[in-house]
């Protein structure tokens, strides 16, 4: 079951929550600027 985690866009620096399953790589897109440079903020699971 996917949980939500906090992510940060490395292009526009906006922060947002996305579904996250540990160990699973997924294509992620920033909802603000559509960049794929989306990095999970570790230790900040919702």
């Amino acid at each position: 079951m996917a949980e939500e985690a906090k992510f940060k866009c490395l292009r526009c620096m906006s922060e947002f929550c996305l579904p996250y399953t540990p160990g699973v790589t997924e294509e992620r897109t920033c909802p603000n600027c559509s960049s794929n440079s989306v990095r999970r903020i570790k230790g900040d699971k919702k």
């Binding site: 490395l10 790589t25 294509e27 600027c33 960049s35």
Partner: protein, 620 residues
């Protein structure tokens, strides 16, 4: 089917499953589990005496539960081979034998209660995946009342109902009173073209299947009224529009709108359909004695096991993904594997037959030659550097690398199976894998050359050959403007972009580095792009630890059709570049100075020019 069973060059393994597949194009080894059928196929004459005496009754799967069968049965009429099968789970018991009536009446004594599954090993050159499809289960769509009302049936159930070999011998009847319905309603796109509660794709054949059913009813029962509720009728094939017009001329009424609710009359068991007629702009109530839900296709539920066995790709809808939609529409990404029929996408009989012919021809072309041309760009192991850690084995999407980690013998690459993504080379921690035509020194030389002059003014981008680089091409041919200071380094896959390439670029003074590749669903190397993402995520952490802003390393997925996106990304990255200060660049160069020092690892031996043939041949 009968022709297949009789053909001298076809070895048919019915009632069997594939357990394992090893090897590569031309040399596949397939382990087939021949399931115990408890009946000797060679001796059984399908006389049916055993079926007559069997006391067990179970729903008939072939008739979708509309009739029953016995525990010993023939799966369907004209099944090949023409022999019975015993469902041992339903049988009253074979240990000890509790019934044994079938054995008593069988003249040939071909029933064996002690039959066991048998494993067979087959050597084959090519594999065709033709596993078909499953159909959508409409039980979740409450508004159609499929689970509540007996006279609401699916198109598959209707198909059996009007089939002359079906449970009613082709007579159209209602399930509640066994009477012929006076009005039949068809509801289209059940479970299709609905992102929220079904599948987003069109199942391709449902419209014409309904048109065919309407004509069939009208041919046999001209007095039956037929109403079809639809979103769009997609009659796009040869002769389809004519067929559609014929069904309208025959009296079928087409109503544009999908019913939002169905109610049943508790006495007559007839149904009321409430629908918004979007052509008329009115909310209407239609009556019908029987409702047929035109259900769509879904991928086979066991697709994932076939995917793992053959290292195949699946598109977002779950069907198998072809190697190239235009140039290799029947080829899988794994060489020597081909698709036919609904395994690849929902399609009708004509398209399935066409694709099957194409797949057979593609397979035959390989087999007739007796040898195959393999990629010139493959990985090679440098045995002296290999520590037999086995990481490359895990990384390879094609299972082309093998390594005995216990014996610590160097890994080996089957070049005929290697597609040349380079993910193994990028992941190898010992630099023990070299990619032909994309060696480390070649790529490092490009980085050095591009950043030799005015590095601070440039954006260095790694682009994968199939998508991002082609996206750049498209941006150029479409005249989409993007900053001219972009410097592209082409790799076959973004999975080839080694961590040390990125660090080297920063050490040479690059303000920004972009790694771009295919979207996950488009990856030309099955799942190599996943390794790119994992590597970049680790690099962001590493850069941060070294005091370098991680945002200076950008990651983008750009397809070959996204020229506009390529230009947009390049403009955005240029804006980021302008924010990078000279002090930051100098600090980075200082922190990463050791990256430029000659590696302690031995440089991979470069192949001589004569060895870099454009294509290699491997005996199949």
């Amino acid at each position: 089917m009968a022709d297949v069973g009789r053909h001298p060059n076809v070895e048919l393994h019915a009632y069997s499953e594939v357990d394992a597949v090893t090897g590569y194009v031309g040399n596949f080894s397939v382990t087939v589990r021949k399931k115990a059928r408890y009946v000797d196929v060679k001796e059984c004459t399908a006389c049916g005496d055993c079926e007559d005496v069997c006391p067990i009754t179970a729903p008939n799967e072939f008739e979708i539960g509309l009739s029953t069968r016995k525990a010993i049965y023939q799966p369907f009429p004209q099944a090949v081979p023409s022999a019975y099968v015993l469902n041992i789970e339903e049988c009253l018991g074979n240990n000890p034998i509790a019934c044994g009536k079938c054995l008593e009446v069988c003249d040939k004594k071909c029933i064996d209660y002690d039959d066991k599954d048998e494993l067979i090993n087959i050597e084959v050159g090519t594999i065709l995946v033709c596993i078909g499809m499953d159909v959508y289960d409409p039980t979740a769509l409450d508004e159609f009342g499929y689970t509540q009302y007996e006279n609401v049936i699916t198109s598959m159930e209707f198909e059996r109902l009007i089939n002359s070999g079906g449970p009613t011998k082709g007579h159209l009847i209602r399930l509640t009173d066994r009477e012929q319905p006076k009005t039949v309603a068809f509801i289209q796109c059940v479970g299709s073209r609905d992102e929220n509660r079904g599948n987003p794709y069109c199942s391709n054949f449902c419209c014409m299947n309904t048109v065919k059913d309407c004509l069939l009813i009208k041919d046999h029962y001209p007095d039956v009224d037929i109403k079809v509720f639809y979103m769009d009728i997609r009659a796009f094939g040869k002769g389809f529009e004519d067929l559609f017009q014929r069904s309208k001329d025959a009296g079928t009424i087409y109503v544009r709108g999908i019913p939002g609710e169905i109610e049943e009359d508790p006495v007559t068991k007839s149904l009321k359909l409430y629908v918004e007629n979007t052509t008329e702009g009115t909310v209407e109530c239609h009556k019908a004695d029987m409702v047929v839900l035109s259900i769509g296709a879904i991928p086979r539920r066991d697709s994932s096991s076939i995917q793992q066995l053959l290292t195949l790709q699946r598109s977002q809808d779950g069907f198998f993904l072809e190697a190239h939609p235009k140039l290799k529409p029947v080829d899988a990404a794994t060489q020597g594997v081909f698709f036919a029929g609904c395994a690849e996408s929902p399609k009708d009989i004509k398209d399935s037959v066409t694709q099957a012919g194409a797949a057979a021809a593609r397979a035959n072309r390989l087999m007739m030659q007796g040898k195959v041309k393999v990629e010139a760009i493959t990985s090679t192991i440098i045995p002296d550097l290999c520590k037999a850690c086995g990481i490359c084995v895990k990384v390879c999407p094609y299972h082309a690398i093998s390594c005995d980690t216990k014996a610590k013998t160097p890994a080996t690459v089957v070049e005929a199976a290697c597609a040349g993504c380079g993910a193994c080379s990028a992941e190898c921690p010992f630099g023990a894998i070299s990619m032909k035509h994309f060696t480390d020194p070649q790529i490092e030389a490009q980085i050095d050359a591009m950043l030799e002059v005015d590095a601070k003014d440039k954006v260095l981008a790694f682009a994968c050959n199939w998508c991002s680089y082609s996206g750049g091409d498209l941006a150029g041919t479409n005249r989409f403007q993007y900053p001219p200071n972009t410097r592209l380094i082409r790799t076959m896959c973004s999975g080839r972009v080694d961590k040390k390439f990125v660090l080297r670029a920063f050490a040479r003074g690059a303000p920004i580095v972009l790694v771009s590749g295919c979207h996950f669903a488009d990856c030309h190397y099955i799942n190599a792009v996943h390794w790119t993402q994992r590597r970049i995520e680790k690099l962001w952490d590493e850069l941060e630890k070294k005091g370098i802003r991680p945002e200076r390393l950008q990651l983008e997925w750009i397809s070959a059709a996204e020229g506009q996106k390529f230009a947009t990304v390049m403009r955005a990255v240029e804006e980021l570049r302008q924010q990078v200060t000279q002090e930051e660049i100098e600090h980075t160069k200082k922190v990463l100075a050791d990256v430029l020092e000659p590696s302690k690892l031995r440089a991979p031996k470069q192949p001589a020019a004569s060895e870099e043939a454009p294509a290699q041949e491997a005996a199949a």
